[in-house]
């Protein structure tokens, strides 16, 4: 594969424009088919029985009564999903999470499932399944779980990453450490040191579409799965492994996806649906209820974070340190590790140290949520940075500019940065009119920075040119927010044709080679590279066909603005051949014209954002309104700027919900008390102002157009920006997210008494 991914400054004709997306018409007319909108002949309804206990041994399950109920076609338990993971610990956890094997590990953990002729019969059957539990002590709080005396969730877990192997098991699965320099020395040099502890509560991605799939397994081992997912190739791999199917015989089609944000990156109920179908010998449709989505699909970590930063009088940070504890649910993860890597990534630091602890709790398995783990770390760090600026008598933006990382800075997580955008976002914020707008009583302004890595990954794309000269582009990265439009723009750009002549689709797993999922902001980054490469291969063939037609050497044919052109004096009288001309003749010049590409898109550029936020806090009720919000973020290159803005706005809105309202509330019994949109309140239209955006374009050197990922960074600064704004409005430092009215009132009361 000789694809050169390096950035080449060039002028664009399609990229950077804002056409209507190809899948839009189906979505405004109700024709687009999402996970639950697909049906198969003879399909059954699948439903899952879930544990009401936070922690319990499953002593026995009696399914006999349920099996006898008329209309029930299959009942399954963990026995029907035997362990085929062969020592792959991460897959074993996914299996156990799909269907509890020995213990129920959280309220909502699946223990059995049925397939029946209709929903009512399936519901009745669930009631007939008798499960005998031995209830165990549980723990849901991250700090409590990390204590020595806490109930043990898994007695096989011994903390990794300690100097000495611990003698006793623990809920702390891993310790990780990052940094450089000597923080002790750095703090000794500091004139001012601020140290604080913070907490953030667990939130859910809150996609409006519940997990849904239709599974159909045939007796010969072939199978079909229709599912809403961020990565159908990944789901195929997971399901094939967990059910012992051959990957190429399991065709997975990704439906339109009604939001994922990281929550649809590994399987949940899909193996259960396949196992039910295999047992019943009929297709099974399984759709989670909203209650199940909250109780049993992946929320983010709850965290507890200590931050200490020191600076000298001239405003230079001399040392920075953080200890981060992140909940993982009942299975080991690397969530605190990511927090530890990202926490101080915005800054140029001589002495920095971060330590992360992964903590098991009796809550659902933690899943990624848009730049996973970074928002909480940024909240803690950016709060202390703000406080330190105040202490120094420096402007918050100036203080950050003085200490911002730049090209050549050693990042807090290790490597030295190439060209990056933190400085430019801060400069843009400094001169933004928002920073100078007047504030009224009870209002406060805050700003904060955020960082995210962005990822690339395995990508495979097909580009087929029809006889009429139109182009179909088949990609394998699920379109979560307009990427089919962006990728069509890329194909049009490369081929030199109009956007309207390209139609992009997401191909199923049998039609295309493997693709990693759409996560880590990789969709447009990776698939645009693959599209550029596929278009390049198609152009090679187009030139060959033109050369054939003219009977001249292919080296003399170039591709310009959608045409093959014979280069050189001697061909002066040869009229250029358009893509359409060449396509029309293709049947006689060697058959269909296509470009294929398979590559690993690596080298996604890190990205930075700075947000500004104004809030108004009602001192009587403690309720907070965001009254103005501005996002400034580096996109590298915005392929379709409208959808880039959309990513910025959506991430900011999710961050606002997280900062002010959203949280999982567990009772003493370990049960989730708010598994619905009424009590888990995400922002509605009337809660929010317009969200202004400013796109900066600092090219990524490792992409031909300079694209970086854009999907995730926008959720990193909001918690901190809003916390800084609220703290400025009420005059008390807020240290616990969400800053719900009772927490704000309590902070105000404490201040009055204190």
């Amino acid at each position: 594969m000789n694809f050169d991914p390096r950035y080449s400054g060039r002028n664009f004709s399609s990229v950077g424009t804002r056409p209507i997306r190809p899948d839009g018409i189906d979505k405004v007319t109700g024709r687009a088919r999402y996970g639950a909108d697909f049906n198969m002949a003879g399909q059954l309804v699948g439903r899952i029985l879930r544990s009401p206990h936070a922690h319990a041994v499953i002593k026995s399950i009696d399914t006999s009564k349920a099996e006898k109920l008329a209309g029930v076609k299959a009942v399954i338990t963990a026995k029907d999903l035997p362990d085929l993971t062969d020592g792959d610990a991460a897959m074993y956890d996914i299996l156990d999470n799909s269907m509890a094997r020995k213990k129920a590990l959280y309220d909502g953990h699946a223990v059995a499932a049925v397939a029946a002729i209709d929903a009512r019969t399936a519901r009745q059957a669930l009631k007939l399944i008798e499960v005998e539990y031995e209830v165990l002590p549980h723990v849901t709080d991250v700090d409590e779980a990390a204590q020595h005396h806490a109930p043990l969730i898994n007695d096989q877990v011994f903390t990794e990453g300690l100097e000495e192997k611990p003698a006793k098991p623990s809920n702390v699965t891993k310790r990780t450490q990052f940094g450089h320099g000597d923080v002790h020395k750095g703090f000794a040099q500091a004139d001012f040191v601020i140290e604080r502890s913070f907490k953030t509560e667990q939130t859910h991605q809150g996609y409006i579409e519940p997990h849904a799939c239709v599974a159909s397994v045939n007796p010969d081992g072939t199978a079909d799965l229709w599912v809403c997912t961020q990565g159908h190739f990944v789901y195929r791999q997971h399901c094939a492994q967990l059910l012992g199917l051959e990957a190429s015989k399991l065709r997975v089609t990704s439906s339109e996806i009604g939001g994922g944000f990281g929550g649809k990156t590994h399987v949940w109920a899909e193996p259960v649906a396949l196992a039910l179908s295999r047992k019943a010998g009929r297709p099974v449709k399984l759709v989670m209820t909203r209650d199940e989505v909250f109780r049993a699909s992946g929320p983010t970590s709850a965290t507890s974070i200590d931050v200490k930063i020191g600076a000298n009088k001239d405003g230079t940070i001399t040392a920075a340190e953080a200890t981060l504890r992140y909940s993982c649910g009942p299975y080991p993860g690397s969530w605190a590790e990511i927090g530890a890597m990202t926490a101080f990534a915005c800054y140029k630091l001589e002495n920095v140290k971060t330590v992360g602890y992964e903590v098991l709790v009796n809550r659902p398995k933690t899943a990624a949520y848009r730049a996973p783990s970074a928002p909480m770390a940024a909240f803690a760090v950016e709060s202390v940075v703000d406080e330190l600026a105040k202490e120094l008598g420096m402007d918050a933006v100036e203080f950050r500019i003085k200490n911002a990382a730049q090209e050549g800075t050693r990042s807090s997580y290790g490597p030295v940065y190439g060209p990056i955008g933190i400085g430019p976002t801060l400069e843009a914020v400094k001169s933004h009119p928002h920073m100078k707008a007047p504030l009224k009583a009870n209002q406060g302004r805050g700003m904060a920075c955020g960082f995210w890595f962005n990822f690339g990954g395995q990508t495979c794309t097909d580009l087929n040119i029809g006889m009429d000269g139109t182009v179909s582009l088949a990609v394998g990265t699920v379109d979560v927010g307009g990427s089919r439009a962006s990728l069509s723009l890329v194909a049009a750009e490369e081929l030199g044709i109009d956007y309207s002549q390209v139609k992009a689709i997401v191909a199923d797993t049998s039609s295309l080679g493997y693709n990693d999922m759409t996560d880590g902001s990789r969709g447009t980054f990776s698939s645009s590279m693959a599209t550029i490469s596929a278009a390049g291969n198609a152009i090679k063939i187009l030139r060959e066909r033109a050369a054939q037609t003219w009977d001249i050497p292919v080296e003399d044919v170039v591709w310009e603005k959608g045409h093959a052109i014979a280069k050189g004096e001697k061909y002066g009288n040869l009229a250029p051949l358009s893509l359409k001309d060449i396509a029309a003749a293709s049947g006689k010049t060697g058959g269909p014209i296509a470009g294929h590409s398979e590559l690993v898109a690596d080298g996604a550029g890190v990205s930075f954002a700075t947000h500004i936020c104004d809030v108004e806090v009602d001192p009587e009720t403690g309720s907070t309104r965001v009254i103005r919000y501005t996002v400034v973020q580096d996109a590298g290159k915005a392929v379709h700027p409208t959808y880039v803005e959309g990513q910025y706005q959506g991430g900011a809105a999710q961050g606002i919900g997280w900062a002010l309202n959203e949280e999982y509330i567990y009772g003493k019994d370990g049960r989730l008390q708010n598994p619905g949109f009424l009590d888990y309140r995400i922002p509605v239209c009337s809660d929010l102002p317009m969200i202004d955006t400013q796109i900066l374009e600092i090219p990524n050197p490792n992409h031909p157009y300079g694209v970086r990922g854009v999907g995730e960074t926008s959720i990193v600064p909001p918690l901190a920006a809003i916390a800084n704004a609220v703290s400025n409005a009420v005059g008390v430092r807020m240290t616990h997210i969400p800053m719900s009215p009772p927490r704000i009132l309590a902070a105000l009361d404490a201040e009055r008494e204190g």
Binding site: R18, I20, R21, D23, G24, I25, K27, V28, T29, G30, R31, A32, R33, Y34, A36, D37, R120, Q205, G206, Y207, I208, E209, P210, E256, I257, G258, G259, F261, V287, T289, R290, V480, G481, G482, T642, Y643, E645, G646, Q647, Q649, G650, A652, A653, Q654, G676, F677, L678, I682, P683, V684, C685, S686, D687, L688, M690, I691
Partner: protein, 158 residues
Amino acid sequence: MAGVAVSTTINGDAVEYLCQPDETLLDVLRDRLGLTGAKEGCGTGDCGACSVIVDGRLVCSCLVLGAEAEGRKVETIEGMAHGDQLHPLQQKFLEHAALQCGICTPGFLIAAKDLLEKNPSPTEEEIRFGLAGNLCRCTGYDKIVRAVQDAANVMKGA
């Protein structure tokens, strides 16, 4: 359980169906009639993804029984365009990119249509409160509000 026979009008067409007495209108539309444009985001009246209009009233079809549609007029997203002519709201949602994943879009379009029929010149605040029953997790609502404002202007001019 014995089914209930229902005669109703959906998007202008006379429709008859049998449903269970406890079956929601949303389930009838989606599972019996194949009208999957209305979505189930919650099933409890909290997300608005299932919005339809019944006798001129905006409702969550997950909170209405299929049997209650008897003798009424139901409008769904599938009936919003006139032939090949998109409703101005549909057109403006496309132009403003007021959708990312699009799962909330049918509900928003129905709710916005109802809003503009009752208030052809809403302020931004009226739009925001008028659409507060519909959840969108992707867009931050900015582009949705702008699309509705733009559609209102076009419709007034028409």
